[in-house]
């Protein structure tokens, strides 16, 4: 039954490569969720890339040695991946990326979430990335990035100056500068509309509060 589905799926997209079929079959026999196979219908990621992502996911899951009933990556494992593969260092940011990946809020990233997240992460269109970044930046769920959140995110961005106070002062000013630049409706917080407008004007602002996406140099490779 499943094999039939797979052949149907691959023939719909016009590829009859035996190799692909073989891989798909391989995954099925290893018990991967069938739904993942359809992922490439929904995302801009190429089929072969989905295959790769799934394989990576599989190996990571095995490495992380998680219980089989909760099939996926938990937060710590995911953070380790972000750190080792994408070179992210900021704990808080990694947490946020995790939550952004974890759509169903079950504290575990399953294969679907993994592929979906990474498709944005690696190959996302500008709009997708925009949305992703914004999601990473606001966390209290109100749909706005508040002044306090900005302060939190930027507080490590200056080299330690003579005193704590001075550094805090500097950060506050930086937050002011940022708000002045991005808060178009002057309500003291950044809405998605503000964010979108600012980033569209200057793409550099996409990761304004810290690197969220893989390095450009990684992308280029």
């Amino acid at each position: 039954m499943s094999y039939f589905l797979i052949t149907r799926a691959s023939s719909t997209i016009g590829t009859r490569s035996c190799l692909v079929n073989y891989f798909l079959l391989d995954w099925c026999t290893r018990g991967l969720s069938l739904s993942c196979i359809y992922l490439y219908f929904y995302f801009a990621v190429k089929k072969s890339e989905v295959e790769c992502l799934l394989r990576v996911f599989h190996s990571l899951v095995e490495k992380a040695n998680v219980r089989l009933n909760n099939f996926g990556l938990d937060r710590n494992a995911f953070r380790a991946i972000l750190h080792s593969i994408f070179g992210m260092t900021d704990d808080m940011l990694m947490n946020r990326v995790f939550f952004a990946f974890d759509k169903d809020n079950d504290n575990c990233i399953n294969a679907k979430e993994w592929v979906k997240g990474l498709s944005v992460f690696l190959r996302g269109t500008f709009e997708e990335k925009l949305k992703f970044c914004f999601e990473v930046y606001y966390l209290n769920g109100d749909g706005y990035i508040s002044r306090e959140e900005i302060f939190d995110m930027l507080k490590n961005s200056l080299h330690q100056q003579t005193s704590e106070e001075e550094t805090d002062e500097g950060i506050k000013e930086l937050v002011d500068i940022t708000l002045k630049k991005m808060d178009y409706d002057n309500d003291g917080k950044i809405s998605f509309a503000d964010f979108e407008k600012a980033v569209k004007e200057e793409r550099l602002l996409l990761e304004v509060f810290g690197p969220r996406l893989p390095e450009a140099k990684v992308q280029c490779q």
Binding site: N156, L174, I177, L204, V208, K217
Partner: protein
């Protein structure tokens, strides 16, 4: 020979096993010299040739025994010379393939026998015999020499009772002579490669000298060369020391230390042994460590020096330190190179500047102080050879340096090459925008705008923040109005420029992009450009061109496009390999032609290529860069890009081509690569700038006839003509009229232009246009008016009046063109009437006083048809007070074109008898006669015409003969130009009316030449030649008759 061989000859790397000489020009030259010495030895020194070597020279020869002839006992495999030593051993013994030779006489003969292969044999001999001198003269002789004293040698030799000793000594001297000769010879070779280096040292010492003297403030008390004699290669060290890379010796007296005697060599600067007391000889031995340059050395040795040095100019030392820390060699070179041109300036007011220069030049050059040699140098130069050689031996022993061409020297050679290149490029015509504006910094306490403080705050974040903060700061900095000078300068003044450039060196792509976006904007400011270059920004920018990130490439190229608007920057771009990289950017768009790639990538690739072209456009204003672009294969890529339809891409591409079209190479390539076709196509574009550059490129290229034809064939004339109607954009108008001017040099094109009614339009453009337009319009009309129809057209359109009005201008190019046009019109009698009425002839005449020879010549040419066609020309000419004298005096010019034109004018003036009389009085005859000895056919023709005209007055014929104008005229008949023949024959005919001239002509063989001319199809020539012959003949008959009666 020994020393030269050991030190100069370039041995192959394999030092063990068989030694082999590398085949280099230097080695070949040395071998050649040695061969010459040996070959001629037997004739020059027959006595010494008989001297038997202590040990034979042995090697493997390829020579066949059968090659030996008389004087040898030849068997199948052996050859013995008949000449034997006192023990009866043959002096030459060949047992195939080994040969042993024991005297110079045999060596000479052997080489003569070897004929073609002698170079090989000599090489084999030298390779096989290490220390030939030892073998020849014996071991003891060589060790004797090591004792360095000539007297010792002489003593030893004379002590030996052996009668051969004298010959031996002579031989020794001869070999040493050869050795020195070889050293000198190879020195010339080596010094060719490092020739700039001594210049650098010299400049630096000159500079130090400038800051030396009595008093506490100077850096040194004195600095002097030990030797006043400078060799032709710029070194002051004696030749045998130059071999070791030593350049000169300097005596330095710092304030606080004793006089130091310093050696400046290619390796560095060190203290030598100082002057030996008695003779003022220098002890070349190194007594200190080697310092990399004179300043380091002196700072080490003299506290006072370093103190005063820093006092003199703080900036100096700063720059110096900075450079020291700078790991890259490239910027160093550049900075050192740049101030070089300022070096000659030595006035006190330039003190500071010189200081900086000095410091910088220190970095790349090595200075060498020297010992007191001064007094003895001339004496030394003429000292006996033996002494020189002794000196050399001693030096050779002490010298620690390795092979003569050390890596250090290679580097220096490289540097000097750089410098040459720079000089060339500096001398090239890069006039525009090259004056660097004076640097003005904002007064610290002036009223600073609020932006200043805000920018300062942002720069603080740039400096102190991590990448996140940096990006935010960069983005908000971008929100300032960066086109405004206040902001641009504010960024610089708060130190932002350094940070921005620094960011480019990081790995943070986002920071780089942000920084470039700002740099791109602020580099529109000339001062900022200069600062960017000063801060070493260009090498970094050039490196970014290699980045895989396309937007980075684009931004970097755009920034370079802005920065490279002045010469130093353009040079820096080239120096760091930027041209090649920029040319490579152009390639992107080529690949995008493949359908496989998505349109998104397409657009970005096109953008990269556009930016590349933009940068090349800026860079292409330097001659050397044009060359570099061509060498990098830029022409083909540009031609390819020209086929695209992206307008904003086409502008920089055409702009670059237009800039480069000033070079012959490019014009040829433009013709060959079918670029003209595309240029013509783009003339039809909507974009005015594009049209302008296309027209400009055509203007540059259309000097070439084929190109003009191509423009016509591709239908380029019509768009050009129609563009004339839009006169609002003056720059475009200038370019378009320029293109029309150059195109109308071809008659076919003129016909087309007439069809398109361009001539009427051109006449309309004669008024109220800027000079650049006028020059081209008038030039075009000048070309068009060569044809009758067009002359009529111009007159009918009322073009003559504005043309004549333009005769009062001051722009030289314009005047040349106007006079030409007026001259062309004057061919038409009706037009001439108008010109005359407008007093145009007087205006033309006054242009003969113009200082510029081109204007003079052009005016004189224009006068010819005027005089020809004016009614009552004679009277008119006379009415110009002093005019005739002016014309005659122009014959004293040394410009051939002026002379030819004035001769033509005189021909016309002399048609009027009265005027001829006047110019004769002004001494036209001797002046014309003086010009007779010329090879310029144009001048010959007009001169002969003038002479023939001037003969018609009074005794002028006789006078021409007296001033010896006749004989050179006869030679004109040998010219290849038929016009010259005609004019000359006519002149000779006139001159032959005088008997003495006939004799001169006959003596110079005129009759034969003239007889040939009689057969010419040209009637005038025939007639004149025949007339002349008849005059000569008649004289001969008359003489005969007189003799027999």
């Amino acid at each position: 020979m020994g020393v030269a061989l050991a030190r100069s000859a370039q041995w192959t790397a394999a030092r063990y096993g068989t030694r082999a000489l590398e085949t280099t020009p230097l080695n070949e030259a040395i071998l050649e010299e040695i061969m010459m010495f040996v070959e001629s030895f037997i004739y020059k020194h027959p006595q010494e040739a008989k001297y038997v070597f202590v040990e034979p020279l042995e090697w493997k020869t390829n020579l066949d025994p059968s090659a030996f002839e008389s004087g040898y006992i030849v068997s199948e495999t052996t050859v013995k010379s008949e000449e034997v030593d006192k023990d009866g051993q043959p002096l030459l013994f060949l047992s195939v393939p080994h040969i042993k030779i024991r005297s110079f006489g045999q060596l000479s003969r052997f080489l003569l026998t070897a004929k073609d292969t002698k170079l090989k044999e000599a090489q084999a001999c030298i390779e096989a015999n290490e220390g030939p001198v030892t073998k020849i003269l014996g071991l003891d002789y060589n060790t004797m020499k090591e004792d360095t004293s000539v007297v010792n040698i002489l003593d030893k030799i004379t002590k030996e009772e052996d009668p051969a000793s004298e010959i031996k000594m002579k031989l020794g001297k001869l070999l040493e002579q050869l050795d020195l000769h070889l050293l000198n010879h190879s020195l010339r070779h080596i010094s060719l490669e490092i020739r700039l280096n001594p210049t650098i040292v010299k400049n630096d010492i000159e500079l130090l000298k400038h800051f030396s003297g009595k008093g506490e403030q100077t850096v040194l008390e004195s600095i002097d060369y030990t030797s006043d004699y400078e060799f032709s290669n710029g070194c002051r060290a004696p030749p045998w020391r130059q071999i070791h890379g030593e350049i000169c010796y300097v005596l330095v007296k710092p304030h606080d230390v004793e006089t130091l005697c310093i050696t400046c060599s290619a390796e560095g600067v060190f203290l030598n042994g100082g002057k030996t007391n008695d003779e003022g000889e220098i002890n070349y031995e190194r007594k200190s460590e080697i310092y990399k340059d004179l300043v380091t050395f002196l700072k080490e040795k003299s506290a006072k020096f370093s103190e005063n040095m820093s006092k003199q100019d703080v900036r100096f030392s700063e720059e110096w330190k900075k450079e020291k820390e700078e790991p890259k060699e490239a910027p160093k070179k550049e900075e050192a190179a740049a101030p070089r041109k300022a070096l000659p300036a030595s006035s006190k007011s330039m003190l500071e500047k010189n200081q900086i220069n000095f410091g910088k030049s220190q970095m790349t050059k090595r200075l060498e102080p020297s010992l007191n040699w001064k007094a003895t140098i001339d004496f030394k130069e003429h000292k006996s050879l033996l002494r020189d050689i002794q000196e050399e031996k001693r030096g050779g022993r002490l010298e620690r340096s390795g092979p003569p061409v050390s890596p250090g020297r290679a580097q220096l050679i490289h540097k000097s090459a750089e410098k040459i290149e720079e000089m060339i490029s500096e001398s090239s015509s890069e006039s525009e925008e090259d004056e660097e504006p004076p640097d003005h910094r904002q007064e610290a306490n002036a009223d600073l705008p609020s932006e200043y403080w805000q920018i300062q705050k942002l720069v603080k974040y740039l400096k102190g923040g991590n990448q996140t903060a940096t990006v935010i700061a960069l983005c908000s900095m971008k929100d300032f109005n960066l086109a405004q000078e206040t902001c641009q300068l504010a960024i610089r003044d708060v130190g932002g420029l350094e940070v921005l450039i620094n960011l480019l060196d990081t790995d943070e792509v986002k920071c780089k992009i942000g920084s470039l976006k700002i740099l791109k904007e602020i580099s529109h400011n000339p001062q900022i450009r200069r600062n960017i270059v000063d801060l070493g920004g260009l090498p970094i920018l050039v490196n970014i061109l290699d980045s895989p990130h396309k937007s980075l490439k684009c931004l970097a190229a755009e920034t370079i496009a802005n920065v490279a608007k002045f010469r130093r920057a353009r040079r820096a771009v080239r120096r760091h390999g930027g041209i090649t990289k920029l040319v490579a950017l152009l390639d992107c768009a080529q690949n995008s032609g493949e359908p496989a790639q998505s349109s998104l990538y397409d657009a970005r690739d096109v953008e990269v290529a556009r930016c590349g072209a933009l940068a090349l456009w800026s860079c292409s204003k330097s001659y050397a860069n044009k060359e570099a672009i061509r060498r990098a294969g830029g022409i083909l890529l540009l031609a390819g890009l020209l086929k695209t339809s992206h307008e904003n891409m086409l502008i920089p591409v055409v702009g670059t081509l237009q800039e480069c079209a000033s070079e012959e190479n490019y014009r040829a390539a433009i013709k060959a690569e079918r670029i003209i076709e595309n240029l013509v196509k783009n003339l039809n574009s909507e974009n005015e700038q594009l049209q302008e550059h296309c027209a400009m490129a055509i203007y540059q290229c259309a000097e070439d006839k084929e190109t003009r034809d191509l423009v016509r064939l591709h239908g380029g004339l019509k768009p050009l003509a129609s563009l004339l109607n839009n006169t609002d954009n003056k720059e475009r108008l200038a370019a378009v009229t320029g293109a029309i001017w150059k195109c109308s040099i071809s008659k076919e094109n003129v016909t087309k232009f007439r069809e398109y009614k361009a001539i009427e339009t051109l006449v309309g453009l004669l008024t109220d246009q800027p000079e650049e337009v006028l020059v081209n319009v008038v030039g075009a009309l000048g070309e068009c008016c060569q044809e009758y129809e067009n002359r009529v057209l111009v007159r009918k359109c009322g073009g003559i009046q504005p043309l004549v009005n333009l005769l009062v201008g001051i722009n030289q190019t314009l005047l040349v063109n106007v006079t030409k046009a007026v001259g062309a019109c004057a061919v038409e009698p009706e037009s001439m009437m108008i010109i005359d009425r407008l007093d145009g002839v007087r205006l033309l005449w006054s242009l003969l006083k113009n200082p510029h020879p081109d204007v003079k010549a052009s005016a004189a040419w224009a006068l010819c048809p005027c005089i020809q066609n004016a009614k009552d020309a004679g009277e008119m000419v006379r009415s110009f007070v002093g005019g005739l004298e002016l014309v005659v005096n122009l014959l004293k010019s040394d410009n051939k074109e002026v002379l030819a034109s004035v001769c033509a004018a005189i021909t016309n003036i002399a048609k009027d008898q009265e005027n001829l009389a006047v110019i004769t009085d002004h001494g036209v005859v001797p002046l014309l006669s003086k010009l007779a000895n010329t090879n310029n056919d144009k001048l010959r023709r007009h001169l002969a015409e003038a002479i023939s005209r001037c003969c018609m007055w009074g005794r002028n014929r006789v006078t021409f003969g007296e001033y010896k104008a006749v004989a050179p005229l006869v030679r004109y008949l040998k010219s290849n130009d038929a016009n010259v023949h005609r004019a000359t024959a006519q002149a000779l005919y006139q001159l032959s009316e005088d008997a003495d001239n006939c004799i001169t002509m006959h003596e110079n063989g005129a009759v034969k030449l003239l007889l040939d001319m009689v057969g010419s199809p040209d009637q005038d020539l025939q007639e004149a030649a025949a007339g002349c012959i008849s005059n000569i003949r008649r004289l001969a008959l008359a003489t005969e008759k007189a003799r027999y009666t």
